[in-house]
Each structure stands twice: as structure tokens, then as C-alpha cells.
């Protein structure tokens, strides 16, 4: 299997990304390391091939955004919008992630070993997110489909205006957002959490998680509510 290193002290992010945008059949099976990322933005954005990318350090904004098929590992922290709008594949952040991690991801798996900032999984559209630490406020805001497993705590307004995404939280939730509610863990939930934790390489008892989903009271306009929800 071919392996390559792009050293960002010597080459540009544009050259890296243009290389990663070559036709999938030319890249298939490639292992690529990004050396000296030094917090650069837009690393490995828009990859559409089954490649393995290792970012050897801290990444800036939007790392692994729009990913399809690739496995992208960040050996450090990630800035705003990591794996934003991911379609498939996997993005694994070994450190912490800043705001908006996995925003509007349609598919794939985002794993964050450390904490995630605010608005993690905002407008999630079908992707899965596993956070080893805690998530900040307004996470899963308007999340439409997909699952989030949060091994630590959640901030304020978790799952505000939630649609059909399902959230599993092991720690404390500071507050739930409008229309989000706790629901009992069924066997299917335990299986889902077990499988997601295994995919993320984390080891917790699935029974220690609480399920949060939409009460669906905001789905239809209620003229009698008088704008009070």
C-alpha cells in the first residue's frame, strides 16, 4: 500500500487538497500523513476516496469537512467545524474539538476522544458522533437524523428543537432544550450504543447512558400555544 507524507512546512494546503481530490480509483488504499499541520485550516476537506489520512498534530477549522469514504485521524485538537457536512467515512480527533463539530453531517462516524465545544452535531442529518468527553451548550440543535453518544456531560439546551436524531448521554445534562425529552433505553438503544462505542474504541457500559429524543410537540404549528413553548 502506497504511503506519502505532505509536510506543510514545505508545501501548501491547496497542494495537499488538490492531491486528495484526484479520482478515487487513483487514490484507493493510499496512506497519507500530513506533517506539521500547525493548526492550518481546511485540511483534507472534500476527500472522496477510500484513503487513510493522518494529520500529525493540531488542525485548524473545517478539517475533514465534507468527507466521503476516507478515514481521517487528527493526532491533536481540531478547530471549528471538524467533519462538517461529512457524508461517509470516519474522522477521529485524538484531542479536543472546538465548536460545531460534525455540524450537519449526513453520514459517517466522527469520534472525538476529548471534549467537544458548543453546538456539536448541530443540524445533524444522519451521521454518528461519539464524544469521549463532554459537549458544550446547544449541542444537537435541530438535529434531524443520526446518533450522538456523549460519554461525559452536556451543557445547556441539549437537543433543542430536535427532530429524529437520538442522543445518548452518560454524564450530567445541564439542561435539555425545547422539545427534547428523556426516554427509556430499549434493547435497540443498548445495542446501538454498544456498537458505536466499539467503533469509537471506547469502553463504557451501554446501560449507563440515558436516551434523549424529540417529544415531537414542535412538529406542527399550534395556534393555541400563543408563542409559548
Amino acid at each position: 500500500m502506497e504511503s506519502l507524507t505532505f509536510d506543510l512546512e514545505r508545501t501548501t494546503v491547496r497542494e495537499l487538497n488538490q492531491f486528495l481530490h484526484k479520482p478515487a480509483n487513483e487514490l484507493e488504499g493510499l496512506k497519507l500523513t500530513v506533517a506539521a499541520p500547525n493548526g492550518a485550516h481546511n485540511l483534507a476537506v472534500g476527500v472522496d476516496a477510500p484513503v487513510q489520512v493522518t494529520i500529525a498534530g493540531h488542525a485548524g477549522y473545517y478539517a475533514g469537512g465534507m468527507n466521503q469514504h476516507a478515514t481521517i485521524e487528527i493526532d491533536g485538537s481540531a478547530g471549528t467545524g471538524v467533519a462538517e457536512n461529512m457524508m461517509s467515512g470516519k474522522v477521529h480527533v485524538k484531542g479536543f474539538a472546538s465548536n460545531g463539530a460534525g455540524a450537519s453531517a449526513h453520514g459517517g462516524l466522527l469520534v472525538i476522544d476529548g471534549d467537544a465545544g458548543l453546538r456539536c452535531g448541530i443540524s445533524l442529518k444522519g451521521g454518528d458522533i461519539v464524544v469521549g468527553g463532554s459537549v458544550g451548550s446547544f449541542s444537537a440543535f435541530m438535529a434531524q437524523a443520526g446518533r450522538m453518544v456523549i460519554c461525559g456531560d452536556a451543557g445547556d439546551a441539549l437537543g433543542d428543537s430536535l427532530y429524529e436524531a437520538v442522543l445518548y448521554v452518560r454524564g450530567e445534562v445541564k439542561s435539555l432544550g425545547a422539545d427534547a425529552q428523556y426516554e427509556p433505553m430499549a434493547q435497540a438503544d443498548l445495542d446501538a450504543v454498544r456498537a458505536l462505542l466499539a467503533a469509537a474504541g471506547m469502553d463504557h457500559d451501554p446501560a449507563s447512558f440515558k436516551r434523549i429524543a424529540s417529544a415531537r410537540t414542535l412538529y406542527h404549528w399550534n395556534a393555541d400555544a400563543n408563542q409559548e413553548y
Binding site: N38, G60, S98, L118
Partner: protein, 302 residues
């Protein structure tokens, strides 16, 4: 946008290299703030009876050719303040002894176009329009020494691109603040402060936050109490980095709309809007890197 940088060194040897370490941090934030730049550096305090005034002559006709020595001679002729000056083009640090408020009033009367950037025992302040690398070169930032500093690169959104609207802002002695974000109630805050005799230099929103917090400190609040009142009183988006003669302090608004990253090891605490500006610091690989939480106070002692 706007970029923020801060650096506090923990060992005496690094105080000599404060400027060298900081310049790449400031230039690293050029994309976030290309129109102006500035910084406040805190060094060994002068004697308690003395004050340092950072002065900017860019608004005078002479500009970079401003005649600083005649100013000092004229001042010493009329006031017993043993004034001395250390100048660099349009910028000077004037050190005086005795009636400091009298000196400030005399400067305003006799040199109305000379802008008073800062006042205190340990603060020196530089700010000007231009790219961060231009401003750093103009004032030889690489040679600055001290224990800690607060820097800023500006992309103006709230008021015009002029040297006095660049950051850091100061109020009182040995206090400065830089801001990434925008305040929605800056005029309201200003309307509360002005009737108490607090004078504003510009129409910039950040100046309101700076003067509000300095007013609270002057009224006797500790820094944490003043910052808590800031959370209650200031509405908008902000990451604030503040400097006093002995501390750096950082807060972010409850929505954490504006970024900040901190790297800390045994030698330094470094703060920047983005990791890009920290990446080239010595031994950064072994520093503890973290993102400050919203609505939390972070205070580091020099």
C-alpha cells in the same frame, strides 16, 4: 473578525525574548486582522512616584519626525517632573515624576494632537494602522522585553480604521483590553459611564468594555468580581484578553462565538485566537493546549 494574542513568560530569561517570541504570534493572526495592530507590554514597574505615558504623534503634522526632546524640555521648564523620553518615530514613552495628572493636562493643552495611548508604572502601549508585520516592524516589536503582553490584529467592523480605534484600549493606569467580537449595548454602557465623569476617546465598542471594567476595578472590585459584572452588563460577542501590571485575564461570551486557544507549559502561557499563532512557540508539542470555556474566568499571574 480580529485576532488576539497574549504571552506571559514564567522565567526571567524569557523576559528578554518576549518580543521575539510574540512577533510570529501577531503576524500569524494577519488573516483575522489585516488593517491595524497593537500591543501592550508590561515590564518592571517604575518607582511608585513615577508614571510612564505612551504617546502617539501620528496625528500631528510632524508625525514620525515629531520633535520629542523640545517637548521634554518645555515640560521640565514649567513643571518639576524630571521628564525623560524614549522615542521611536511617532511613538514615545514619557517617564515623569510627581504631578502625573498635571502632566496629562499640560500635554492636552499644549500638544492637543498628541494621543495619550496609556498610563501606568509598567505598561507600554503601541498601536497603529497597517498590517501586523508593518506595525511590528515600525515599532521594533521583536526587541520588546517584559513579563507579559497583550496583542491584537484588527479587522474593523464597528468603527473606522484609525490608530486610536486600534486595540489595545486602555483606561486608568496599567490596564488594557483587546477584543474579538462586537458589543450590541456599547452605547448603553457608555451612557451609564459618561455621567460619572468617565471620558471616552472614540466611538469604538471595545472602549466601552474597557472603561466599564476599569471603572469597576477602580471602585474596588477584584478582577474576578469586575469580570462577573462584565458578564452581566456587556451584551454581544466577545473574547476579551486583559492585562494588568501583574496578570493576564481572559473571558469568552456564553455562546463562545469568538475563538481562543491557550497553550501552557513551565516556561509560558500563550493565548491566541487560533492554534496557528501558537504552533511555532518553543516546545509547543509538550505544552498543555486547551480551549477556554465560555463564561469562565481565566487569570494568569505574572
Amino acid at each position: 473578525m480580529c485576532g488576539i494574542v497574549g504571552l506571559l513568560v514564567k522565567t526571567p530569561a524569557l523576559r528578554e525574548r518576549l518580543g521575539v517570541l510574540m512577533v510570529p504570534m501577531l503576524i500569524g493572526m494577519t488573516e483575522r486582522g489585516p488593517d491595524s495592530a497593537g500591543l501592550a507590554v508590561f515590564g518592571k514597574p517604575v518607582d511608585a512616584s513615577q508614571r510612564k505615558l505612551s504617546l502617539y504623534a501620528g496625528f500631528t503634522e510632524e508625525g514620525a519626525r515629531f520633535a520629542w526632546q523640545p517637548l521634554v524640555e518645555a515640560l521640565n521648564a514649567v513643571m518639576d517632573v524630571t521628564a525623560r523620553v524614549d522615542s521611536k518615530g511617532n511613538h514615545a514613552v514619557l517617564t515623569v515624576q510627581g504631578d502625573i495628572e498635571g502632566v496629562k493636562t499640560w500635554l492636552r493643552e499644549h500638544y492637543p494632537k498628541l494621543y495619550q495611548l496609556s498610563s501606568g508604572r509598567s505598561i507600554d502601549l503601541y498601536k497603529d494602522v497597517g498590517s501586523p508585520s508593518q506595525v511590528a516592524g515600525r515599532y521594533d516589536f521583536a526587541n520588546l522585553k517584559g513579563s507579559h503582553l497583550v496583542g491584537h490584529t484588527r479587522m474593523a467592523t464597528e468603527s473606522a480604521v484609525t490608530p486610536d480605534r486600534a486595540h489595545p484600549f486602555t483606561a486608568g493606569d496599567d490596564f488594557c483590553l483587546v477584543h474579538n467580537g462586537s458589543l450590541s449595548n456599547a452605547h448603553g454602557v457608555r451612557r451609564k459611564l459618561e455621567p460619572q465623569g468617565i471620558h471616552f476617546d472614540t466611538d469604538n465598542d471595545t472602549e466601552a468594555a474597557c472603561r466599564f471594567l476599569e471603572w469597576r476595578l477602580r471602585e474596588g472590585d477584584t478582577l474576578p468580581v469586575a469580570l462577573q459584572r462584565g458578564f452581566e452588563e456587556l451584551d454581544g460577542f466577545y473574547t476579551f484578553l486583559m492585562g494588568t501590571s501583574t496578570e493576564l485575564a481572559l473571558i469568552r461570551d456564553p455562546f463562545a462565538c469568538k475563538p481562543a486557544v491557550v497553550a501552557e507549559n513551565d516556561d509560558y502561557v500563550a493565548i491566541a485566537s487560533e492554534f496557528r499563532s501558537l504552533a511555532h512557540l518553543p516546545d509547543i508539542k509538550n505544552a498543555k493546549v486547551f480551549e477556554p470555556a465560555p463564561e469562565e474566568m481565566y487569570v494568569w499571574k505574572a
